[in-house]
Assembly symmetry: C2
Homo-oligomer: 217 residues x 2
């Protein structure tokens, strides 16, 4: 008696785990995303997940990164634009549209200990658009702070990498960001990666809005 060939079960993988996690969060909310429920959905015990992700924080990092990468892929397909303002506007509105499919995402972004690589790539692209539009690196820096939560639906301070930053980002892949940081740090010896003058940036963004309102009034 021989055994029937059984379709080999698709083996678990980090990618399959993360995709399932995104689906759970989308459909049932982030609170429904537990390791046990995640195991159920991928057809394994919760404990098997730990062979593919290191822990639940890693799952949250992974699904956040996945959402932002989806945005990065989408904005990469936008047609070039000669007007910086149209380009930035279009890019941000597309990001918002995709973000609305994952309502849980901004809250998860905000709890990440370290800025995700995909977030840095997104901002690198924004800086590129503004530089092409004639912005100084300094103004790019203030602009990112001012856009704040509007850029990616959340307000985590950029560059506030916290105490236990993971692998340092590969600045070679982030030319605009690297250029901006080099200049901003150079101009202001007190400034380093991991520290911006938050009070100044807050007031800069606030005044941009208040001055704009005054003009409309």
């Amino acid at each position: 008696m021989h055994r029937v060939m059984v379709e080999p079960r698709i083996p678990l993988s980090r990618d399959r785990v993360l995709r399932a996690a995104v689906r759970i969060a989308d459909e049932q909310g982030i609170a429904a995303l537990t390791m046990r429920r995640l195991g159920e959905v991928v057809g394994a015990e919760a404990m098997s997940l730990y062979h593919h992700v290191s822990n639940k924080e890693d799952v949250l990092d992974g699904i956040a990164e996945q959402v932002i990468q989806e945005i990065n892929d989408a904005v990469a397909g936008l047609p070039p634009q000669q007007d910086w303002k149209r380009a930035v506007r279009e890019r941000i509105l597309l990001a918002l549209q995709l973000l609305l499919k994952h309502r849980w995402a901004p809250a998860v972004f905000e709890t990440r200990k370290t800025t995700l690589g995909a977030v840095l790539r997104y901002h690198d692209g924004l800086i590129g658009l503004m530089r092409a539009g004639g912005f100084s690196n300094d103004l790019c820096h203030h602009a990112l702070h001012a856009l704040g939560s509007r850029a990616l639906g959340f307000s985590q301070e950029l560059f506030d990498t916290g105490d236990d930053a993971g692998a340092p980002p590969d600045l070679a892949e982030l030319p605009h960001l690297a250029g901006m940081l080099m200049e901003v740090v150079h101009d202001d010896p007190d400034s380093t990666i991991g520290w911006c003058d938050d009070q100044f940036e807050f007031e800069f963004g606030l005044d941009l809005i208040l001055d704009g309102l005054e003009k409309i009034k």
Copy 2:
């Protein structure tokens, strides 16, 4: 043999529970705020807390309300200002300063199901300042959306009271807010409390920032 008079233990109360909860969150982070730890700090079993708060969500509502009330009390003491922009600016910067003592607060605000009464009172005050400065009710409405997370350090959409709104707010105590809503709803029959054109408001705030940047460039 008679018993020594014992200083009667200070009885538990909602206020005492909430104060202890704020202290835990301030000193050890919001993750350290568990019902068991809270019971420990007030010198009672965790289960005793349920005589004074209905559950943990109620604790979170309570500490969020407490922080915003602290802000409301502080801004009430600000001297009157004839220039609306100075008044709004000063008020928001004071709110930010107090908020920085409770770094956990914005995240808690964002998870509240229903807009807290203290938040409505804060915004009622802001509307009052802008009305006094000559803003139309319509512009006040857009301005609150544009300020968004800068007004109170978080970006919960105002008026999005969700499905299970609790007791409706007492509009008599919120004259400016009530006036604004009446007019905004009147002007736009599609608009109701609980629904704003989020896409429009997002673009309004975004354009305010982009136009402001262009002017600086």
